[in-house]
């Protein structure tokens, strides 16, 4: 069900540009042989998503998208790639899982099917139906950050704190696993 909304030419152009960025980037991630090039394509995808956010007036999300994903997470990817020197061609003909290809195909079919079902059920761009049952649409003319902050710290407080706790647990676990420690004797410390 495609809603008969009229879009202006600039917004269509912006959407098309964002879509091209996202799709070309995503294709690049899976087709490039060199992991560094894949990471660069991933940044392109993230930029495309940020552009789409800006076009939807979600400026704060766009900024966070760039700061957190492009500015921190992919930098860490690159950091690991550079640090561990895995920037060589991988042996793609050896499969670590036996049934990985059929399983991947199944996953792709499920994902695409789910997306098509979602599109058929709700607004084809935003999936409005699922959002509108939870809360009201964002009021216009009010600052993004204000509304997001209110939503996160009132309606979704539990989910927010649970996510925070999850991240802390992950960090503590990573430190515990990665850190081999020994206790120095007191004279060693004094040196």
């Amino acid at each position: 069900m495609i809603a008969a909304l009229s879009y202006s030419w600039p917004s269509i152009l912006v959407f098309a540009a964002a879509a091209v960025l996202v799709l070309v980037g995503a294709l690049g991630v899976i087709t490039f042989k060199n992991p560094v090039h894949s990471a660069l394509s991933l940044i392109m995808t993230l930029f495309g998503v940020a552009v789409a956010f800006v076009a939807q007036q979600a400026d704060f999300l766009a900024a966070v998208q760039i700061i957190v994903y492009a500015g921190a997470i992919v930098v860490l990817f690159l950091f690991v790639i550079m640090f561990l020197g895995v920037d060589r061609k991988e042996h793609v003909h050896v499969e670590p899982f036996v049934a990985q290809r059929p399983l991947a195909a199944l996953g792709a079919v499920i994902t695409v099917g789910g997306l098509i079902a979602l599109m058929a059920e709700s607004h084809w761009v935003t999936g409005v139906k699922s959002v509108s049952t939870v809360g009201t649409a964002l009021a216009t003319g009010q600052a993004n950050v204000h509304q997001l902050g209110t939503a996160v710290f009132t309606t979704y407080l539990f989910a927010f704190e649970a996510t925070a706790a999850l991240l802390v647990i992950a960090v503590v676990g990573a430190v515990l696993l990665a850190r081999r420690e020994r206790v120095l004797s007191s004279e060693e410390v004094d040196e």
């Binding site: 007036q57 900024a63 966070v64 500015g71 950091f79 550079m82 003319g141 020994r182 120095l184």
Partner: protein
């Protein structure tokens, strides 16, 4: 789309279709670009002159009055040199990297309000290139992107020292971005706005309303240290420590591409000085003498004076302070600046609600500080892994074997 832009910039109140609006935007961009380029030329000259004065040298003096055209001469020389691409290099990334540094540098400058407002042909024009709704967050995003330029430049060179330098750079910039973001949050809490225009407006009521004083100096100090590290300027220039890493991440670059890196570094220095003025020193705010038609000029002059003071501070740092060691740099970032900025943010947020909450937060932060200090003390007695002591050259470390610590004579 129109209402989207109108929300933050009054120029687009009547839509974006008008050709005068388009012309104003174009002129703003061109003037801004020209001004930044000129500022870079002057800044490089100023740095060389000030450093040589501090070191009892003469400095550039041959080209133009007082050697002012030295930078232009250097630029022409660089462009005339051979453009080398190392054989081991990843050519596409190698050529891309300089632009990933210079474009964010320019975009960040676009956010800075250099003056008040003008009225041209019935339009209200803000004297800044852009005033997007996401405001100061764009600066954080752009500093995140410029990390890539430095990282990829080092990696794509296919050479060891640039790679080491870029690994250092990425770790350093990521570490200090956290403290940077936290101080910006403190500023946003007090001003209640993201856009640089509103941040400046909220500091308009005289010197006591500047964020420097309203926030109690500490966020400014953290910001200054963090931004210096983010810029890789001395004393935090471990990224291009000549004694350890040859020339740093741009060792393999020559000709125009090297010039771009050089340009971006100085653009960033100027831009970050300007951002500091915007966030903490009221931007273009200052005393305006009652002259009829030139009222709009004085804010610009105030802005230039304030920004130049910070530019001079950077040069002064470079002349006066020795370089940090890499582990000291990381300690300062993670163990001092990030906890301090986080604690100060909580205190400021508490005082914004009421003084009782403020005091409560102060007590809580004090308690957390004591706990943290104790944790650091405990951490000193626990060393992680035997890899702390490097094995002697030519000997493979054997798993499970206790590697003894080197005594001072052996070291």
């Amino acid at each position: 789309m129109n209402q989207l832009f109108a929300a933050s910039d009054p120029l687009f109140n009547h839509g974006t279709g008008d050709w005068i609006v388009l012309l104003i935007v174009l002129v703003k961009i061109l003037v801004g670009f020209g001004a930044l380029m000129t500022a870079v030329i002057v800044m490089i000259w100023f740095e060389r002159k000030a450093i040589s004065d501090m070191q009892s040298r003469i400095g550039p003096q041959r080209w133009g009055p007082f050697g002012l055209l030295q930078t232009v001469a250097d630029g022409l020389k660089l462009i005339g040199k051979e453009d080398l691409v190392p054989a081991e290099a990843d050519v596409f990334v190698f050529k891309l990297a300089p632009y990933l540094v210079v474009i964010p540098a320019f975009i960040t400058f676009a956010l800075v309000p250099v003056g008040g407002t003008l009225h041209i042909a019935g339009h209200v024009v803000l004297l800044q290139m852009a005033n997007p709704p996401m405001g100061i967050l764009l600066m954080l995003a752009m500093s995140g992107i410029s990390v890539y330029g430095v990282m990829l430049a080092g990696w794509s060179s296919g050479s060891k020292y640039p790679l080491l330098s870029s690994v250092r750079a990425s770790a350093q910039m990521i570490s200090y971005e956290a403290a940077l973001g936290m101080t910006i949050v403190t500023v946003i809490l007090v001003t209640g706005a993201l856009t640089t225009h509103n941040i400046v407006l909220s500091q308009g009521g005289g010197i006591w309303h500047w964020n420097l004083i309203r926030l109690g100096f500490v966020p400014f100090a953290i910001f200054l240290i963090a931004i210096t590290a983010e810029l890789n300027r001395p004393p935090f220039d471990v990224v291009e420590a000549e004694s350890e890493l040859v020339g740093g991440f741009h060792t393999e670059y020559s000709s125009f591409r090297f010039a771009i890196f050089f340009l971006a570094e100085f653009m960033n220095t100027i831009t970050m000085s300007a951002i500091m003025v915007t966030l903490f020193f009221g931007g273009p705010a200052g005393w305006v003498p009652p002259v009829a038609h030139l009222k709009w000029v004085f804010p610009i002059i105030w802005f230039l004076i304030k920004t130049s003071i910070f530019c001079f501070c950077y040069i002064w740092f470079r002349a006066a302070l020795p370089r940090f060691r890499y582990d000291q740099l990381m300690d300062l970032g993670w163990k001092r600046l990030i906890p301090l900025s986080l604690g100060w943010m909580l205190i400021v947020a508490g005082f914004l609600i009421s003084w009782r909450w403020g005091l409560l937060m102060f007590a809580a932060v004090l308690f957390a500080w004591i706990v943290l200090t104790r944790a650091f003390e405990l951490g000193k007695t626990r060393e992680s892994g035997p890899e702390r002591v490097l094995p002697t050259v030519g000997e493979r470390p054997i798993p499970g074997r206790v590697i003894r610590r080197l005594s001072d004579e052996e070291r």
